[in-house]
Subunit: 250 residues, 6 copies
C-alpha cells in the first residue's frame, strides 16, 4: 500500500487531498499532505520558487523520514523538484514533468495552457530541460493568476480560447492544463474541442502524477542517485537543524 | 477497477499474468492475456513485427470489445503500437515507449540493453520517433536471442557487462532492460553497479507499464485520436471479417 | 541496365509503369511492378500498413529472387520499408523518405501535402525517424482520400490552398506531394506559386525515387545490413512458405 | 563607467575582487562584491542552490537599488540566475551560461571540467536549458570539492587528466573550467595540451563574464523582461521586508 | 589597451569608426578600420560573400600583422568569418554569430530582422551552424536593400511591422537587427514594442561585438585553433603574394 | 540526355571524367569538366574555399550558359555550393551534402573519413547546416593531405583504422569517404569490415552525386530559388566582366 505525500508548495492552504482521493479510489494508495511556512501564497515565477525551494526540500525530507514511499510537489512549475530529489531517495515527481512525458506518449505535439504570460519562458525552458522540446507545440497562457482562477468568471472561456489556438494554429494534439488549480476543466475542454471536430486529449496532471508516483513506489523504482546525487557534507548557515543523509564529496 | 489486457505479440505462449500480478498486488487491477495465431515465435526485428502486426491489432480490437480499459503490448519493440492505437479508443501502451519516458524522467541519459545486435538501429529509431533521442546515451545489445534468455548460462554476465559499458563509457544514469523476458534481473544489475560505486536506476518495463495503463484508465485518459485517427472506411481484402469502428475519410 | 521493381502496396491495381517510364526515358532502366493480394485498397494509416506489410515484404523478397536490382514501394507513407530492407539485400526505397532527403537538400524548410488529416502525425513521425525533423516546416493535408483524388473536382484547388499556407504561413521553400496519386500536379503548383511571387520547388517523388534506386544499383550501394539486419531463424506460424535468407541470431 | 556587482553565492567569504580587477585593468569598470548570510559554504548541488537562492536574489535587488549597472553571480552553476533576472532590470549574468555561449562561438564542441561527479547531470541540464546541448561534447568532473581545490595537491593533475579525456576521447576543441575557484589554471591546461599537439582554448569564465556584463551595461542591453517577467504582487510569508518592483499579474 | 580592427567587407566605404567610438567611450579600446578593394558594394547574399571572402581574409591577416588584438567583420552575414579564423590567431568575430549568442542568453527565443527576403535561408543556416537553431523563433526580412536603408522613408515602419510579427506571431522575446546599417533603430523598436505592452530586448550588434572582441583580447582568449586550423602549405595560383602562417598538413 | 558538368574546384588538373564515365555507363548522361585558374591546388580548409569560391561560381555560370543541365562540384567540402546555387537555376550538387543524405537514408548513423584533422570542425558544421547533425556518428580523419593520397603507402591502412574506429567505437553503420581522391577504396573498406563481421555500407560520393544530378535534371527539379535567391543588382569591383542573371532587390 504505497503512501504518497503531497507537498503543496505554497503558504496558502490549498487542499488537494479530497480531489486526488476522489480520482484514485480503489487503488490502495495512502495520501498525506503538507504546505509551506516560508515561501509565497502561490507559485507563478522562478522568483516564487526561489523563495519556497528550501522549505519544499525540507517537506520532502520530512516525508521520507515519516515513511512516505513517494512525494509529489503539487505545482505545474515543478518547484524544488531537482533539489528535493538530491535530498531524498524515494521518488519525487512534479506534475509538470510528468504531464509532459505522458503528453509526448499520447500524441505527437503538446501545448501547455498556464496561468500567466510570465510562465511562457519557464515552460519552454522546462520542455528543454526534460528533453522534450521537439514535442512542444506551444505555450498558451490564459492570463489569469492562480489566486484568481476560482473567482474569475472568464476562466473557462479563456482556456477554451487558448485550447483552440493551440490546436488550430499550433498543431497540438494533446493539451496540458498548466495549473493544478484548473481542476475539473480537462473534460470540459475535451468536449468543447470535440464539438469543433477535434479529438484531443487534455491532461489534468495532479491525479495522474499521484498514480504514477504510486506505480514507481510499487515497482521499487526511483530517480537515479547518480543523476541526483546526495549533497556533500558542509556548513549551511541558516539551516543548522536541517537533517538529511549527506554523502562524502567525490 | 481497471481491466488491463496484455497482448503477448508472439505465437509462443509466454505467460506474463503471474509475473505482473505479483508486482501489482493490492492495486485493484484486473488482468487478462492473449497471444497471436499468426506471426512469429518471438519478436526480434521489424520483419517479425510486419508478420504479426495485423494479428496484434486484431487482439486490441477484441480486447476493447470485451470491455478492457487499457491494453499493453508485451514487447520492448512496441510492435503494432501505432496501428492498434488507430483501431481502438482505449489506451494502448508499449513497454518500450513507456520505459523510455520514465527513464528520461528519472535521470538525464538512459541506455537500453536489448537482446540482439540487430535491435540497435530499431531502438535508436524508436527514441527518435518518441521524441527522446537527446536522452538516449546508447544501445548495448547482450547478444542473446529471446528464446535463449532462460537457457543461456551467460545471460546475467552479459547484461552486467553491457550495463557497465553503458554507465562507464556512455554516461547512462538509468538503464532499461531491452526485453520483457529479462524479468527479475533489474535489481541484480542495480546491485552489481552499486558494488562498482554507481547508484543507477534499472527499469524492468512490464509491471511499470501495466500500472501506467491502469493510471490512464483510472483518470480517463487515452492517446489523442487526432494523432492516432480511426482508419477510414475501405476494402481490406484478406481481412473481411475484421470489425472495428471506422471513420469517414476527411 | 538496372532493373527496378515497383511494389504498389495496395490491392487496388493502380498502374505506375507508364507514368514512371515516361519520366525516365533514355536512362536505361528496366521496370516491373506488383500489387498486393492481402492488404487494403489504399494506404492511408498505419493500420492499413499493418494489414499489408507482410505482403509487401513478400513482394520484395520475390523481386530480389527474380533478379531485380532495386525495389521502390510506391506509397508516400513508406509502408513496409524497414522490414523489407531487413529481408533483402538489394536497395529498397520509399518515396516518402527519399523525397524528404531531396527536399532537405534543395531548400532549407520543406512541407508535405498529404491526403487526409489523419496523416499529419505519421509524417511528423517519419521526419523524426529519418532524422529530418528540423527541416520539416509543416504537414498540410488536402482533406481528400486516395481513392477520391482522380474524381474530386476540388483536388487541384485544395492543393493550391495547402501550398500557399505552407509557403506563406509556415516558411516552406520546398513542397512534397504527399501521395503518389497526385501525379502531374507538381508543375501546376510550382506555376501557381510563381504567379504569387514565390520560386518554390515541388517534388513529385515517384519518378525521382525510381531514378535514385537506379543510381544506387548502378553504384552498387544498398542499405546497411548492420542497421537493417537479416531476421534470425525462427518459427513463423502462418508464413510457413515464406522463403528468404535468414541470419543466425547474434 | 559601468559598475558591476559580484555576488559570491556562498557564506564562505571567497574574495574575487582582486582577481577580477587584475584581469580588467584599464577597462574603466567599477567593481563591488557581496556574500550570503543564509545559504551554504560552497555551491555544489541544486540542493545548495535551493538553500541560497532567496538570499542571492536579495543581493541582486540590493545591488540594483545601490546603483549597480550589472550583476554577476560568481558560480559556474549559475545559482539564482533566473529568479534574480525576474527581480531586477539590470543585466544579471552567470559565468556558466556565459562561458558556454563563448565556448560555442570559439569552437565546435566544448567540454566542462567541474568539481564533483554530482555536477554532471546539472551541467548537461544547463546546456539543454541554454539551448546549447548539441555543442556539449562532455562533462568531465575532477573529483575535488570546492573547499578542497586550494589544498588538494592533485588538483592540477586531475584537471590535466580530465582535459585530455575531453579532447582525445570526446572531441572537445574548447574547455570550460567548471568552478570559479580553479582560477589561473586555464593557461596551464592550454600549455599542457599544446605539448600534446592540441591547440585548445580553455575558458576561465569569471573575468570574461565581468567584461561581458560591462559590455551589456555599456550598450544599454539587458535580459528580456518578457522572458524574465517581474513577479506579480502577492503575499510572501517569511520575506516580508523584501522590497522590489512587482508587476500586476496578467 | 586592446586594439580592435574593423573590417567593413564591402567596396563601399561605409564608416563605422565614429559610430562604434561613440558607443564604447571610456573602455580603453583602440579602433582601426579597413574596406575591400575586390568584392561587392554591399553584402546581401552568399554570392556576395564568395566574391569578397578572399579579400576579407587578406584584411584579417594584415590586421594581425599590424598588431591588432582582435578583428570584427562588420556584416550580420559574417562573411569570411571561418576562413579568417583559420588564417589568423587573434580572435575574429562576426556580429551575426555574436548577436545570436547574446540573444540566446538574454531571452528564450530570438528573431532576426534582415534586409532582403533572400537572407532568410542564410540566417536559418547560420543559426544551425552556430548550434542555436532551437532558439531561433523566426527570420522576418524588412524587404529593403542595404544601400536603400538610409534613403528609404519606410525603413522604420517596415522594421516596426517585422518586429511586431516576430513578437506576437512567432513568440520572440529578443530581436536582432539584421544589418549593421540599421544603426540607432534598436531603442526605437524597443520603445515601439513597449507601447504595445511587450518588454523586448533589441540588439544592435556592432558595438556589442566590438566590446566582446575587446573582452576576448583582454582575457587572452581566442577561437580554438583545433577547430579553425591554420591552412596547410600548398600552391595558391592568383594569391602568390598572400603571406600568412601555414601549418604542415596532418 | 542530361548534361552534367563537373567543376573540379582546384587549380590542379585532377581528372574525374574517366572515373565517373566508367561508373555510369549506359545511363545516357553527357559529361564535361572544368578546373580553376584562381584558387588553390587542393581544397582542405575554408581558407582554400574562400580563395577559390568566386572562380567556382564563375564556372557554374559558364556551365549553365553552355547548356549544362546540372553541375557537380567535385569536392567533399562542397566549396562554393551555396553561392553557385544563388547564381544559377540548374541544380548544383556537392558530393558532401549528397553523400550525407544518402548515408542517412541507408542507415541510422554515419561517419565521415576525411583527409586532415583540420576538416573535423568543418564536417560537423556541414552536418549541422544540412540538418543532419543527429545522424552523424563521428568524423575520423585519416591524417593524409589530398595531394598525398596517391603516393602515401599508408593511405589504405589508415582508412581501415579510421573505419574500424567509426564502426566499433562510434556506432556508425554507414561510412562516407571524405575525399573525392579516395576513389576505388569504398569496396575495399566494405570487404575489410565484412571480415570483422560488420555489414557496413561505404559511400564513394562522386559517381553517386553525378547520377543524382542527372536524376534531378531528368525530373526537372532544382534547388529552391526562394532559398537560394538570385543576387540583386549591384556594383562588384574586380568582377566587372562576370555576367549572370540578377534579380531586383526585394
Amino acid at each position: 500500500m504505497p503512501h504518497v505525500h503531497l507537498i503543496v508548495p505554497t503558504t496558502t492552504k490549498f487542499d488537494f487531498l479530497d480531489y486526488v482521493q476522489g480520482a484514485i479510489t480503489g487503488m490502495d494508495i495512502t495520501l498525506s499532505q503538507s504546505h509551506l511556512e516560508v515561501g509565497t501564497s502561490s507559485v507563478e515565477s522562478k522568483f516564487d520558487e526561489a523563495l519556497g525551494a528550501a522549505n519544499i526540500v525540507k517537506r520532502a525530507v520530512e516525508a521520507e523520514a515519516n515513511g512516505a514511499d513517494a512525494v509529489v510537489i503539487i505545482c505545474m512549475g515543478d518547484p524544488g523538484l531537482w533539489p528535493a530529489r538530491e535530498a531524498v531517495s524515494i521518488p519525487v515527481l512534479g506534475p509538470g514533468q510528468t504531464a509532459m512525458h505522458y503528453a509526448a506518449m499520447l500524441g505527437q505535439r503538446f501545448s501547455i495552457l498556464p496561468t500567466l504570460d510570465g510562465r511562457q519562458a519557464t515552460y519552454i525552458g522546462h520542455a528543454r530541460l526534460y528533453g522534450l522540446e521537439n514535442s512542444l507545440a506551444s505555450v498558451r497562457p490564459a492570463g489569469i493568476s492562480v489566486l484568481d482562477i476560482a473567482v474569475n468568471p472568464n476562466t473557462k472561456d479563456r482556456l477554451f480560447a487558448c485550447a483552440e489556438k493551440a490546436v488550430f494554429d499550433d498543431g497540438a494534439d494533446v493539451l496540458i492544463l498548466g495549473c493544478g488549480c484548473f481542476k475539473n476543466l480537462d473534460k470540459e475542454i475535451e468536449n468543447h474541442l470535440k464539438q469543433k471536430g477535434q479529438a484531443i486529449t487534455v491532461i489534468d496532471a495532479v491525479p495522474l502524477t499521484v498514480l504514477t508516483a504510486a506505480a514507481l513506489a510499487k515497482t521499487q523504482l526511483s530517480h537515479s542517485k547518480k543523476a541526483f546525487c546526495s549533497p556533500p557534507v558542509k556548513e549551511r548557515p541558516g539551516y543548522e537543524g536541517f537533517a538529511f543523509t549527506e554523502s562524502p564529496s567525490k
